[in-house]
Symmetry: C2
Subunit: 373 residues, 2 copies
Amino acid sequence: MAKPMDYASAGVDIDLEGSAVASLIASLGRSVRPAGTPGAPVDLPGGFGGLIEFGDSLLALATDGVGSKLQIASLLNQWGGVGIDCMAMNVNDLLCVGAEPIAFVDYVAVPKPDPATHAALGASLAEACRLARVTLAGGETASLPGIVTELDLSGTALGYVKKGEAITGENLQAGDVLIGLPSSGIHSNGYSLVRRIIEHSNFDYTSEAPFDADSLGREILRFVGRENQKITLGEIFLNPTRIYCDPVVDLIHHAQKNNDFSIDDLRAICHVTGGGLSNLLRLHDNLGWHISDPLPVHPEFSWLQEIGGVETREMYRTFNMGIGIIIAVSADKAEAICSWLQEKMAGVEIIGNVLENGHKVTHAIAGVEFTHY
Amino acid sequence: MAKPMDYASAGVDIDLEGSAVASLIASLGRSVRPAGTPGAPVDLPGGFGGLIEFGDSLLALATDGVGSKLQIASLLNQWGGVGIDCMAMNVNDLLCVGAEPIAFVDYVAVPKPDPATHAALGASLAEACRLARVTLAGGETASLPGIVTELDLSGTALGYVKKGEAITGENLQAGDVLIGLPSSGIHSNGYSLVRRIIEHSNFDYTSEAPFDADSLGREILRFVGRENQKITLGEIFLNPTRIYCDPVVDLIHHAQKNNDFSIDDLRAICHVTGGGLSNLLRLHDNLGWHISDPLPVHPEFSWLQEIGGVETREMYRTFNMGIGIIIAVSADKAEAICSWLQEKMAGVEIIGNVLENGHKVTHAIAGVEFTHY
């Protein structure tokens, strides 16, 4: 039997990446901006978004790119979803500190500018701004034929939260309840593995999907002109990352009004990105997390696992496996918060609990267990 | 005689780039954020930084990368200056709307992460944060072996200005005086042409400079270990872009206190980037600009022009030619403002005037004239 495929063998050296980032961070000093002045840094656990002081508010910045999902977009010349991916990767990180996203800037590097590609990117970014409810406050297109061989897209999102209302995870406690918000598919992580599996299969991105793509709580963005034809693997794999501003921003606003639940009941928010469920470990230094009732796994995950021969634990540390955002809430308000969310988004469910059993993630599936991010 | 070198023949198709960006912008709609709420867009001429509302303040975002200057850094494996370049390209744009930069995030795309390179980048970004007086609020390193062949570095800066105190150019008038702040060298624009000239010359980046690199108001950042050796072309061409937060932020703060001059006397600020002096045309729809007394041209510009056979007008629309920032001020306070700046930065001088002679830039050198950006 062939060696099972995994993320590392697909060409991503997570340790080397971590070591490079650690080297960069080690070279940085303290900020020159003193506490209490605009721009002074605010330290929060988790590190999904960087926070700074600004009067009565905290401002949050998040920067991220679409990554190697872009290589599938380039191959198929389909740019309708990647602006949404780029927005989602950033604004979803801002939501994790309780910040409301308000503005975005994009950075595009290309070997050679192409007006048709840029028009499609612009339309995708416009839709992304609508979904995330932000202003596109600028952008840059760089022609770098000696540096990039195909289009790279990244961006930066700006958000804000009132001082004292940031969601930090510091009030997390054993017994808190986890609510899962469904993903729309693979989102923007794990594409080195996706691409490797497809390369080693008898399929390509124009193949009709050999499975039923229907899945609760998501729709697939169809390529223009293909709406009435059978769905392809390319359309499924390029389905844009879900933007959770609606309903999470509204949830936060509702909680701030102290009705049936308050902002203190929202203990922590986790964006399930690269690293899968192990992202939960970023939210607290010693509590544990158990996923007893995971959301349904979208069919493309099961199919990729099968044809790639990927081990189950590897699937869960590479992909979101159906859960895009996890919100930890106080146990006595969990039903109320979950019901509120279910009215805004199909497929939201209570999926597990916070435990005092060591700093680890466990799962209904035995063996899906993580002790480091 | 060989055809003179110019920016377009060096592989940069400015029209195609403009057309691609125009296509992207045409696809965007109005922001969903209503006027008077956080994140609502604020339209300003010039477009150096994107402004949004935020309570009593305006927030400004600028995003830009280092561009093909990075290819020289890659070739020489010298990363000590490029973090400063990246910071400068962004914060100098924020200064143009009168915004004080407060935070920055970086985005690095690499074919493969390298801890030594990242440590050098981190040190460069740390120094950049100190010079620009901002907090590094986050960053992202992406491994994209299928998209980038060498390191790409970009970033986003956040700044703020009180409502009503943005510097917009709307009060510009004929007779206003132009003050020039010296550049530190080539900064981060025009490197496709620099690289092409060197490729077609008998020199390379390790060659000792065949000219005296001394120039008023700048120092060359020496490569580590080479401090006592003769200066090379690589060190001159990688000299980092000057960050103008000191003195421009201090100038704005001083003006806000309404002492010898006020914020109304600061009419417009121009960052001389790609497009050279033609950037002035972005500040007003119909006034003209005359540079009667340009600052000294750094020796590398004269040398590049000579060995590349570049026409003079082409030099001035590709490079900053010694002037990094131009501040337009009211005529009756020009001497006071210039004196104030001279105490903070060597080489600052009055360089020209605003004219009512049509929307064009003219220069002491006949033929250096621009009618579009």
